[in-house]
């Protein structure tokens, strides 16, 4: 699927002469060593700061709706950061979304039966994917009190998706309506909650104390789905684009063969989507 990146291409044309490189190395080396020296010489602990953020977080932790301080900071005290971060992810996803046409009617997940599957990976996946999904749910739930949360859980789910795609048996179509819903549901939920709590407390993203826990769980669940979908989309576009580069004429032939095959014997995974298979 991947072509080895061609590191040597145009190598001689763009490379700096050795003198420039040495000069660059020496400058950066001296600057880094200087910074390290400053760091060692001024090694005073951070007690001189006027405010101690850990103390403030500890004081307000009971009102935040989460027991884990990192989760409390991410989704309550500085939830604006997290909102914008999901926005950044969505912008990147939109930027690299495959361009193929309007809303395609193929489902998000389709099983390809003709493909040259990797039987080893496929066999392992039958055991691995359910375990990863359970593990992702655990990570999401445990994020309230221990390290974990939406991003870790989403990354696990995306990893399961990448494995499934690598096995050659499963294809993802990110132009389907389900995929678009999955990609955006995190941001939509987050913004909905942000505006919704503003009607109650008067300030955007300021949760009422008694509802903070459930609201954080709601946001995290939606964000998990979105993050998993977006990360999988990032992998998927890069992989298919690189495959297209490696052999353009034959890739086209492959695609037409794949679409012919998938239109004849596609099977929709039971849990994947409610859309009918074509």
């Amino acid at each position: 699927m991947f072509q080895t990146p061609d590191f040597e291409e145009n190598n001689c044309a763009n490379e700096f002469p050795i003198v420039t490189r040495m000069l660059c190395a020496i400058t950066i080396g001296v600057l880094s060593l200087g910074l390290m020296a400053v760091l060692i010489l001024t090694d005073s602990s951070s007690s001189s700061l006027p405010v101690s953020l850990p103390t403030i977080v500890q004081d307000k932790l009971a009102q935040s709706g989460a027991e884990n301080p990192v989760t409390a900071v991410l989704l309550n005290f500085r939830s604006y950061d997290t909102l914008l971060e999901i926005g950044v992810l969505l912008i990147v996803a939109v930027a690299i979304l495959p361009r193929s046409g309007a809303l395609s009617d193929s489902p998000l997940v389709s099983v390809v039966s003709h493909a040259q599957a990797n039987p080893m990976l496929e066999g392992v996946l039958r055991w691995l994917v359910p375990m990863i999904i359970v593990m992702a749910g655990y990570m999401l739930w445990t994020g309230a009190s221990l390290p974990g949360g939406a991003f870790q859980s989403g990354a696990l789910l995306a990893g399961a998706g990448v494995l499934a795609q690598l096995s050659g048996r499963v294809q993802f179509c990110f132009t389907s309506a389900t995929a678009k819903l999955l990609l955006t549901i995190g941001l939509i939920t987050f913004m909905g909650v942000a505006v919704g709590v503003a009607t109650k407390t008067g300030i955007i993203l300021q949760y009422p104390t008694e509802l903070a826990g459930p609201l954080i769980l709601l946001i995290e669940s939606a964000a998990t789905l979105s993050i998993a979908a977006i990360l999988l989309l990032l992998y998927n576009s890069l992989a298919t684009q690189t495959a297209g580069i490696s052999s353009q004429p034959s890739a086209l032939a492959d695609q037409t063969a794949a679409s012919n095959a998938s239109s004849t014997d596609n099977k929709t995974l039971p849990s994947s989507t409610r859309e009918p298979a074509p």
Binding site: A13, S32, S45, L53, Q58, V70, L234, L238, G244, I245
Partner: protein
Amino acid sequence: MTQDLLYCIASIGLFGIGLYGLIVAPHIIRKILAINIMSVGVFMLLVASASTVDSLPDPVLHAMVLTGIVVAIAGTALALFLASSVHTLGRATDEDSH
């Protein structure tokens, strides 16, 4: 010399290596990798400076690193996508001109 000071020094070293690679490396993928090494250096500095002597580590810095990692992934993916598109377009123009 405490442990977090060691991590801080190592993170400066990582940042320097990445900066050198970013300036000197000729290939775009090497440049993207170099930017990633630089960002790892920054995250390491943040995590190392989050450790406090007496109490729990500073959760604000940890949350910031978590946010930063996700944004760095998104940026890397976009950069790789653009690099790959440039590669494809360049090859297409090459074939046209020949």
